[in-house]
Symmetry: C2
Subunit: 228 residues, 2 copies
DNA sequence: GCTTGTGAATTTCTTCACAGCT
DNA sequence: AGCTGTGAAGAAATTCACAAGC
């Protein structure tokens, strides 16, 4: 069977997981591909195709049962195993400006397996301060701390001018993933993955989508539109 | 000629624009598709294909000049015209928690043509407060204000439980786009577009990408990886 | 009835390859 | 030499359609 998960599928699997999780919390037991699809704005065919990648329990078993649907718990388990939700990845946050501070007070990271292990800032007035349960360290400490603690992912919440230099430092000490809030494209070694979040560009895309929706034909059914 | 811009192309065009803008600020005059492509992690062929969608100046003219490249100013203009960068879209921000406040202090929105026209919060302690140059209004005012000011885009920076209800209110008074920071899928009328930003899911995807990169073959050249 | 799972067809997007311009 | 623009080929992702199970 196919072992490599297509990117679009991976994206959707995480959304399915979030949705099924919520349904479980609400007491749901079963869900059909049609139902799940409606909730997340995806065709039922697509949902089933995506679920093909789940590991089949070797003896006697697919996941869903025709006529019934999928068992929520089992489905959630299956997806989480597939998307590697068990592993924990610690984070190094660089920059405690607006975005940085928002991230620090965003509790969910911890719960979801992404603990913020260290935070840094270039501003001397920030260094040494405590924010929540973190103490802000100086950039001078960055390479040492990240290397010693083997932090795999860096979050860049710094001005554009500083971003590339800090990315270089992080990559040099073993970071393999970057979440970049600076509005620019980073250049990094081939083994590191970077995800950019540029709200300005996001808004531009959103308004393009709006324009496109109103420029061409009207849709008919009550559906959704998803992105990012 | 083709009039509809493919989604992936639209995404890249905005990135090109950002990059070219930066080059202009740095004094660059010309840029080749190869150069631009390298900077943003896209093949030169792809860049040229994307630029096909720019409006041709009717008489005597493509954009780039073979052997030379593209004129930065002209290129930027062309892209901006295409992606509708001239239009201004005002925003209604709902929720002044961590994320909401970060957005308010994120000056770029204004400059880029997305002024925050009103801000709301359910918390009584917040209502009436001034944050930057905005005064926080109660949710009770939301429908009136958004309708009267004809605000087209809403930003939901609220807890999950509140998101759907507020989305409904916003849609009911004419909002056509939503930027949703709540970790859930919204259900909206077919003519409204919603873009979701869920940092937890983003991190999950990032770690999957990292795992995939280290699980299969090593790459060779100094390139980048982009997302969102 | 409504459901899953999946080959096959289709659509969409990317890459290749090269003619032609500077 | 280096570059653009584009048809043609290729790869990837989505949708269709339907056999088979509950």
């Amino acid at each position: 069977m196919d072992r490599v998960i297509p990117k679009p599928t991976a994206k959707r699997l995480n959304i399915y997981a979030r949705e099924v999780q919520m349904m479980i919390e609400l007491g749901q037991q079963k869900v059909s591909s049609t139902d799940l699809g409606n909730r997340v704005g995806v065709k039922s065919n697509q949902v089933r195709k995506d679920l093909v990648y789940l590991e089949r329990d070797e003896l006697a078993g697919d996941h869903g049962r025709a006529g019934i649907g999928y068992d929520c718990e089992r489905l959630l388990n299956g997806i989480e195993k597939l998307v590697g939700a068990q592993k924990r990845w610690s984070l190094a946050l660089v920059g405690v400006g607006n975005i940085g501070r928002a991230l620090l007070s965003y509790a969910s990271f911890d719960e979801e397996g992404y603990p913020i292990a260290a935070v840094f800032d270039a501003n001397e007035k920030m260094v040494g301060k405590r924010i929540g349960r973190w103490e802000v360290q100086p950039i001078a400490q960055l390479t040492r701390t990240v290397k010693v603690r083997r932090i795999p992912i860096g979050i860049l919440a710094v001005p554009r001018e500083a971003a590339q230099g800090l990315a270089d430092q992080l990559c040099a000490v073993g970071v393999v993933g970057l979440l970049n809030f600076a509005p620019m494209q980073l250049t990094v070694p081939p083994h590191v993955v970077v995800t950019n979040i540029d709200l300005t560009i996001t808004l531009k895309q959103l308004s393009m989508d709006i324009a496109a929706r109103n420029g061409s034909g009207r849709s008919r059914s009550r559906r959704r539109k998803e992105r990012s």
